[in-house]
Amino acid sequence: MKVGVVVFPGTNCDRDTKKACEHFGWETDYIWHDQSNLDEYDIIFLPGGFSYGDYIRAGGLATFSPVVQAIKDYVKNKKGYVVGICNGFQILCETGLLPGVLSVNDNIRFICDVVGLAASDDKMPEAISLPIAHGEGRYFADDKTLKQIQQDNMIFLEYQDNPNGSLLNIAGLIDRKNNVIGMMPHPERAVLKETGNTDGKYFFKLLEAEIK
């Protein structure tokens, strides 16, 4: 298994994500934002942070970067999985690789907490808890899109006690046709025992199973 972790100026979960991947024995490279050849990777992670300062709108500027253009090709050619966590989820939505947008939390404040989540994939336990840390995590889409999301069974993580006003309690989406995953919670921060929570491992195990 070989994975790449994209680093934009302003990304701040790159090291955390690499640490988590390496914990599972995955060979992990950083991918600088000007890179465009991604074919050697089984998974591309778009980690959390504030890419290009998240000026204008979270994830907005990153969509113009060479690496995101390359990711579009990577998805089109079904080279592997793309996983966006937090800012990565925002980027995937801004790029159109996932539907909808992530807008400002309904309490208009940054929220850092541990939240209970319901997981729909039967390779994961029904209920897990993961850390969240975001100011713009309120999932929003029009009714038509929401219906489509439900029809396609895209919601793989739901908040049990919605912290940010996300529609349909959406915390994470999976597009099985194109192998694209986006989620606001941080599974990479809940892998090592020394962080007091290891529920994130279920997500990494799920990825491992999908790739094999």
Partner: protein, 723 residues
């Protein structure tokens, strides 16, 4: 600058006797630019004029890199470097940017020695939360810390927030940063002759000019006009600068590094020259500027954020500039070092200033009066003559924003980024950061107890150090080092001078007895307005370590466990002088402050660790604000259990439940026989307080509903802020 008929030095508020000293040491009149340099470097903020003499009393034995940008302690092969700094004055006029750039500044200190920042802490003081302006300041400061700290990817893991009328005009914003670096990779700030000086980071603009002198005077109704003296931060640039700096400092060819903080380029380069007894020459026309037409003095005094200075060998120049380029950050060669021993500034080939750098960095040193002011005796003899019922007292205390949960605050701080937060806010007396480089966990705490320091500067300051010590011990950490931030009023006033000197002595004695060096620190004076002066507020940041995650101690008392009070026992004469309870419930401040039993403190630490190692310990909570009841509530709330106390009626009094007696802890255990044996063997006095059971806290004939109390405790601040 308008001088309105005054001489420039007068217009810059350099006192006549200091100007005379400049003349005698320089042996000539300084030119205008040099006068500007003195005005910044000899300000209280840069020059530590009133404090330098006394700070030398603090013990630093055992510290590493002391005297550099931030000192540290050694853990295995790594140095944990840490420092606390104030950003009080800017936050009083522009809370968001003031707090944000406070983080920026302290992060650069950690970065300058080559360490990766791994945690942030803060200590915040405001006026009464019911005041509208205070709400604005509180909200702005928290927002600033949230916006800046979260963006740069350094977790904010612990802190304290207090509210007291004395901070209404002068809020205190102290930020502590912690970093880690391999001991062989530390960079000094000492200049070495024969190198290039490279400035990397943001363009230099006119922001923050005179920031250092602004921070060196009392605030008044005109202070808001000083708003242009507040710097503006750019967390995105800072995040990129952190990564670029760490990459640059990996280069052998980089011989030293310094950040641009107060008094910007001037302070950083003159300190480097002075430390290395080395000549420094700067070409001001090479500095990359944000705006045209800046005068040499403006370039030198600008406090534009996100800038670092590197001294680099010939061979390293291209490498440094290429790293800057990779990160899209401007980088320019702005000068060189030489053997001349002089600090020289040139602009377009013309020398505009030339003087020995140590003349700038060694300003005057003042001696303070140490006579006890009258108020000390007056307050000591005050007696609180009113009392209320225990039920009412408990509810008032829990619903006071000083005691209540700070979740409203820390929920806005990213405290888990970095993937190494072992103890999160609310999980203990301190925070824990996993040091995967060494395999253990670093414990971090920040604390102050200003009421006690006001009543008794010596013992109050001492108690503050020991309180931090107990915070760490109760979570299983061995305390290793201290950083302090001394927040006081105007030191030219005798009362403040006394408070300052005595509290330095208290900190020094406590640190010596606890065997923890003071590795770094900061002083903030003139925190007063014509109407209000802050209590003397020494903020203590303390760092500890335990070699295994499994050695952390819980702060929860669980069902079926028995709770003991260990250490100083219940004593009918114990007073509650300076307690939070009296302030909250009786609006009273007075009486005498408890004095710590240092030998007992160390014996308690050893015994708690033995109980843990023998697997006897359930939870442990240290006793501080809120007294015995406060600690009991904290343990029960975390363990979600009620309590059946075995206290007698005569022991359920305001004094006993809420007095802030030092040198004691509450512990919870299953095996009472083995626990008592171990306590007896170690000659630790103890008292069984009762058993964890049910959903109510029962104290003699009083029954309190835990759920109702928890609700009060959890919601107070959020409800107040929503008003």
């Amino acid at each position: 600058m308008k001088t309105a008929g005054k001489k420039l030095y007068q217009a810059l508020n350099i006192p006549q006797f200091e100007y005379d000293e400049i003349l005698s040491r320089l042996k000539r009149e300084p030119n205008d630019l040099e006068t500007y340099l003195f005005s910044a470097m000899w300000s209280e903020h840069c020059g530590y004029k009133h404090s330098r003499k006394y700070l030398k009393r603090l013990p630093s034995g055992g510290a590493v890199c002391e005297g550099e940008n931030a000192g540290g302690i050694l853990v295995g092969d790594h140095v944990i470097t840490f420092k606390v700094e104030s950003h009080n004055h800017p936050s009083a006029v522009e809370p968001f940017q003031g707090a944000a750039t406070g983080i920026g500044g302290i992060i650069r200190d950690i970065l300058a020695i080559g360490a990766r920042p791994i945690a942030l802490l803060n200590s915040l003081k405001f006026g009464k939360l019911t005041d509208k302006w205070v709400k604005h300041l509180f909200d702005g400061v928290v927002d600033g810390i949230s916006a800046y700290g979260n963006s740069i990817g350094v977790p904010t893991v612990a802190g304290e927030v207090s509210f007291d009328k004395c901070y209404t005009d002068s809020p205190l914003v102290n930020v502590m940063a912690v970093g880690v670096v391999h001991k062989d990779k530390i960079k000094s700030a000492k200049a070495i002759p024969g190198n290039h000086i490279v400035l990397v980071g943001s363009h230099t603009g006119r922001d923050g000019i005179h920031g250092a002198s602004f921070a060196s005077k009392e605030l008044n109704e005109n202070s808001k006009e000083d708003r242009p003296s507040v710097q503006v931060g750019d967390p995105f640039m800072k995040k990129v600068l952190i990564e670029a700096t760490l990459e640059i400092l990996e280069l052998e060819e980089v011989v030293s590094c310094q950040d641009c903080g107060a008094a910007g380029l001037l302070s950083s380069t003159s300190e480097m020259g002075s430390m290395g007894e080395c000549g420094v020459e700067l070409y001001l026309d090479k500095v990359h500027l944000r705006e045209e037409g800046m005068e040499p003095w403006e370039i030198m005094l600008s406090e534009s954020q996100e800038r670092m200075v590197f001294m680099v060998t010939d061979k390293g120049l291209d490498k440094v500039l290429n790293i800057a380029k990779k990160y899209d950050i401007p980088g320019e060669i702005i000068g060189k070092t030489d053997e001349s021993g002089l600090y020289k500034l040139a602009c377009h080939g013309e020398q505009v200033a030339c003087l020995p750098p140590d003349l700038l960095t060694s300003g005057p040193v003042y001696t303070l009066t140490e006579n006890e002011p009258e108020y000390i005796c007056e307050y000591k003899n005050k007696e609180c003559k009113v009392s209320i019922s225990i039920e009412e007292g408990v509810k008032k205390l829990l619903a006071d924003p000083n005691f209540a949960s700070k979740k409203w605050v820390y929920r806005q701080y990213d405290h888990t980024v970095g993937n190494r937060t072992s103890l999160k806010p609310g999980e203990g007396g301190s925070a824990g950061i996993w040091l995967d480089e060494e395999g253990g966990v670093v414990g971090l705490t920040i604390d102050s107890n200003a009421r006690q320091v006001f009543l008794d500067p010596y013992n109050g300051a001492k108690n503050t150090v020991w309180e931090s010590y107990r915070n760490l011990v109760s979570d299983g950490f061995n305390p290793l080092g201290v950083t302090d931030c001394m927040n006081y009023g105007n030191p030219e006033k005798d009362e403040v001078a006394y408070q300052f000197v005595k509290s330095i002595d208290g900190i020094a004695d406590a640190c010596r007895a606890a065997d923890v060096p003071v590795v770094s620190g900061n002083v903030s004076l003139y925190n007063e307005s014509p109407d209000l002066r802050v209590y003397p507020t020494p903020t203590i940041g303390m760092v500890g370590y335990t070699d295994s995650y499994d050695k952390l101690i819980k702060n929860s008392f669980s069902k079926d466990e028995t709770v003991y009070l260990i250490g100083k026992q219940i004593d009918q004469t114990s007073n509650i002088g300076g307690s939070l309870y009296q302030m909250v419930c009786h609006d009273f401040l007075g009486g005498s402050v408890d004095s710590v039993d240092e030998k007992l403190e160390i014996a308690l630490k050893d015994t708690i660790f033995k109980l843990r190692d023998e697997s006897l310990l359930g939870g442990c909570v240290d006793i501080s604000e809120g007294g015995l009841f406060g600690a009991l509530f904290e343990g029960l709330k975390s363990g979600n259990s009620g309590f059946d106390a075995t206290l007698k009626d005569s022991e359920v009094t305001e004094e006993i439940l809420f007095g802030e007696i030092t040198s004691r802890y509450l512990i919870s255990v299953q095996d009472t026989t083995q626990t008592e044996k171990l306590l007896n063997d170690n000659k630790i006095t103890y008292k069984k307080l009762g058993r964890c059971a049910g959903n109510n806290i029962k104290l003699a004939d009083i029954t309190l509903d835990l759920a109702e109390l928890t609700d009060l405790y959890d919601k107070t601040i959020g409800l107040e802020m929503a008003k």
